[in-house]
Symmetry: C2
Subunit: 222 residues, 2 copies
DNA sequence: AAAATTTTTTAGATATATCTAAATTGCTAT
DNA sequence: ATAGCAATTTAGATATATCTAAAAAATTTT
């Protein structure tokens, strides 16, 4: 068993590829990676070759890449670190959930197994990060809560917000404003045929209209 | 006022130069820097030119370098981060004081003013790190406790350990073993003419003999 | 099935951070 | 004062990570 050592840039690419490949482990295209990481396709091709040589992805020219067994292990460790750090920032340092992503993007690359072990312990072995995303354990195991995007709910469906898909500051600030925090109770009141926007009731108090796009980025219990 | 952006490597060099220049702000030689950072003199010359162009050091060929006003500010911010993180690791994550240096060496480069502000707050604005070194505040201000190296004490001198000079794991483990932790009470019993080793009494309990080298790396109150 | 378009790769640069070996400068001891 | 040695710099490589522009392959449209 050879250990894989990855640079910051390599970890970022691998994580992006892992996220893009999704549950069905689709092959990921060069352009998709470039878009995610705000780099150019040519840079992606270069990096893809390096990652392929290290065995963390499989690559066929012009056919996109897939994450290998080993690559998934490595990607999940980066994801684990990212989410543990986000949890630390919110729980211990009182960051708002829209302020943590950029910093975690840096912290996730710190190399120290002991640090992560102790951080996990310090946080009480959290299972979900501030955005509702599951935190993989040291073996890469995790489970998501059963959930459905608001946009896919039928009228009358009622549930509790369990996660947000987009973790960008502008989106989270909007979610804050309407009060649809993780844990908020939501009922789908009406769906507008014209633009698929939704009318929802939040915490039995407030009725708001949300766009289709917003509705696709908030997950609630089934 | 132009803000200075430094890479990891640049921060490491600047910090090393700052430490090497000492209180008297001596010019620092190329070889001294290379030794400290385990690099080669040629690499140091290259980096020196970059740091000089950025205005954080002043450089005269063949004459060594001095840290500028701006450079000192920048160096102290890196030192501040290093020592705050070390404090965090010991106080919150239960690291031993001999386990923190390497990790802090990485964490000190994370760029986020908010993170450091909140970390400082979370730790209760500590004034000293686990090795007894003073933690600069956000303006770079700090004060060391009045102190004297054990090796410079006269026979009969009594004081409390306030800091250790060497922060390497082997040295700290030795200090642990003899029980000369920060805060331990120490009395100089005798000094051996032959090799300048010392006989000391620790916490009124235990008498141990320490080498000259060790005695130069432990500071106690005057 | 060809043509047009899009996607991907290659070729050739640039920037950072290192290194070894050779040249140069500075210091010291005769 | 100068010869010799030590310290430093320069020259020329290597490795990583990025880019633009051009070429090649795949896909889509006609
Ligand atoms: Mn990252
Ligand atoms: Mn998250
Ligand atoms: Mn460092
Ligand atoms: Mn320290």
């Amino acid at each position: 068993m050879k250990e894989i050592k990855l640079s910051f840039a390599e970890e970022n690419y691998l994580k992006a590829i892992y996220h893009l490949s999704g549950d069905d482990e689709q092959a990921v295209s060069t352009n998709a990676i470039a878009d995610t990481l705000n780099t150019k396709a040519a840079s992606v091709t270069d990096m893809i070759k390096k990652l392929s040589n290290k065995g963390v992805i499989s690559y066929q020219k012009y056919r996109g890449v897939k994450v290998s067994e080993m690559g998934q292990k490595a990607a999940l460790q980066v994801v684990r670190k990212h989410r543990l750090w986000e949890t630390f920032l919110v729980e211990k340092l009182k960051f708002n959930w829209d302020e943590v992503h950029e910093v975690a993007e840096q912290l996730e690359h710190i190399k120290s197994p002991l640090l992560i072990k102790r951080l996990d312990e310090f946080l009480g072995y959290p299972k979900y990060d501030p955005h509702g995303d599951p935190i993989p354990d040291e073996f890469g195991e995790f489970k998501s809560k059963p959930r459905v995007a608001l946009g896919d709910c039928i009228i009358g469906h009622e549930g509790v917000v369990v996660a947000v898909k987009d973790a960008s500051a502008p989106f989270l600030q909007y979610v804050d404003k309407i009060g649809a925090y993780i844990g908020a109770k939501i009922k789908v009141i009406d769906k507008v045929e014209f633009d698929s926007s939704l009318e929802i009731l939040i915490d039995n108090k407030k009725t708001v209209f949300i766009s289709k796009e917003v509705s696709e980025n908030i997950w609630i219990t089934e």
